[in-house]
């Protein structure tokens, strides 16, 4: 096939994406750098000096980071188990991970509202078992957002790592064990380093997903635990402050890109050193 016709096939999609994606994004982000006397970053200086914004930014980053760490700690062993299971069980376990992933995020957050709420399952259980005197506030806390986010994104971590785990040769583990390593040591020294590529892909997905999520923090965090995504919505639609909403948009895009490129750079450095 000649090159010309290949480009021809790409053109409709290109036009749609440039006109309906790039144009709106640039129209939102670029004006935030325009001042009366040309290019300025003063809006961003104001943003990073504002305590309220900074507290929301650090909360959002903190939730993303903790969620990612928990997903790695739970996801690495689980995906190894899934990868090494016999085909029937493996299919079942993969399906059980994919199912919540394809279920609406409102439904999944609502499930945690019924578990963590004041009259929710945990409180009912703990009170009737006399462990608690009265219901505790689990819902509308930062921890509730983290639990909900781990629940939301752990399947993504498992799915991105199962493929990598599949390719780890069983003989390697056997060799380590026959040389005297116990199962735990073999796991830490052999499986863990070999699964780093999957872990990196998964971590980027989990972090950027949590960092930009709207539904979970909105439903599980309540009014006090605003994150960047819920703040952006408030600014744009409730307060009609489009300038600040645009600044927030730019900050979110830049951090997302920085994390993606940063982690990938870090990953390629690791490979160069031969880890």
């Amino acid at each position: 096939m000649k090159n010309k016709s290949i480009y021809l096939l790409l053109i409709p999609g290109l036009i749609v994406i440039i006109f309906f994606l790039f144009a709106p994004i640039l129209m939102t982000t670029l004006p935030t750098f325009m001042g009366e006397n040309g290019i300025t970053v003063s809006r961003y200086m104001d943003f990073f000096k504002d305590d309220y914004f900074m507290s929301i930014l650090t909360r959002t980053l903190r939730i993303g980071l903790i969620t990612t760490i928990i997903c790695v700690l739970l996801g690495v062993p689980v995906s190894f188990y899934v990868a090494k299971s016999n085909p029937k069980i493996k299919g079942l376990l993969l399906a059980a991970a994919i199912f919540p992933l394809l279920t609406d995020s409102v439904v999944r957050s609502f499930a945690w509202m019924t578990i963590l709420g004041k009259n929710g399952i945990i409180n009912t259980l703990l009170v009737s078992a006399h462990i608690l005197q009265e219901p505790q506030k689990f819902l509308y806390t930062e921890s509730a957002i983290i639990v909900g986010s781990v629940y939301l994104f752990l399947p993504l971590m498992i799915i991105s790592m199962v493929g990598v785990m599949d390719s780890i040769d069983d003989d390697l583990i056997e060799a380590a064990e026959s040389l005297g390593a116990n199962k735990f040591i073999a796991f830490i020294k052999i499986i863990f380093p070999l699964s780093v590529p999957g872990m990196i892909v998964g971590s980027v997905l989990v972090f950027t997903g949590t960092f930009t999520a709207y539904t979970t923090p909105q439903l599980l965090g309540g009014n006090k635990n605003t994150v960047l995504a819920t703040l952006l919505y408030q600014k744009a639609m409730t307060l009609s402050d489009w300038t600040q909403a645009s600044v927030l948009s730019t900050v979110m895009i830049l951090i997302t890109l920085a994390v993606m490129f940063g982690i990938n750079k870090f990953a390629s450095k690791l490979y160069e050193r031969g880890v």
Partner: protein
Amino acid sequence: MKGNKLFTFFVILVYVFLCVPLLIIITTAFDSGNIMSFPPKGFSLQWFGKAFHSETFMTTLGISFKVAVLATFIAMIIGIPAAYALSRKNYRGKAVMQSIFLSPIIVPGVVLGFAFFRFLTIKLQLDVFTSLLIGHVIIVIPYIIRVVGSSLENLDFSIEDAAVSLGATKLKAFFLVILPNVTSGVIAAFMLAFINSFNNVPVSLFLTGPGVSTLPISMLSYVEYNYDPTISALSVILMVMTVLIMFVVEKTLGIKNFAK
């Protein structure tokens, strides 16, 4: 590793964490009590009745369905030729093209929603439904490109050359030789794009307006002010839909390939 009971126990715990919340939702949906409670008081279908009789939920369910189907179709018309072009051998700018077509995934959902709102609704003055549809076309394009693209990559293009050398035009070869060979990829792409459009919150949030809303958005605002099993009943209906979609994906693409 199999013999390690502690390890198996750990994996079971994690799966309990993944499965129990949705199971709880299912049980509350069939509750006969008047309020949300667990364990349920008895069996009834009252909440399903309530969900089906709610005009808001039924209208928005219809809109969600319409938007998801239309957006997926439009994205396929644009995306399948592009996926085909992207799967052919190296040419100038291929990598750049690939990232352009996958770029909607990189932009945070709420940012997309806000940018679409300002451009489509405010600047171009498009009506609510059209804006919503365009927004959804953009967000599902990457799914089409990826899933159709990966089945095209496994295809031996010499069958196309054979068809052409036997006198078929390029267009004819594409529709009669290439497309039938990637049907399963196309079906799976349709399913995944559909469910992702259907479930979308952040983009729809900005693009819904008076009279036009999607089911997840109306559920979201309902949950913020009400707390009863109507949402559980709706959730069960959505879960049944998800199971059907997963079944189709399993039969076409194979659930194991989902990971790629």
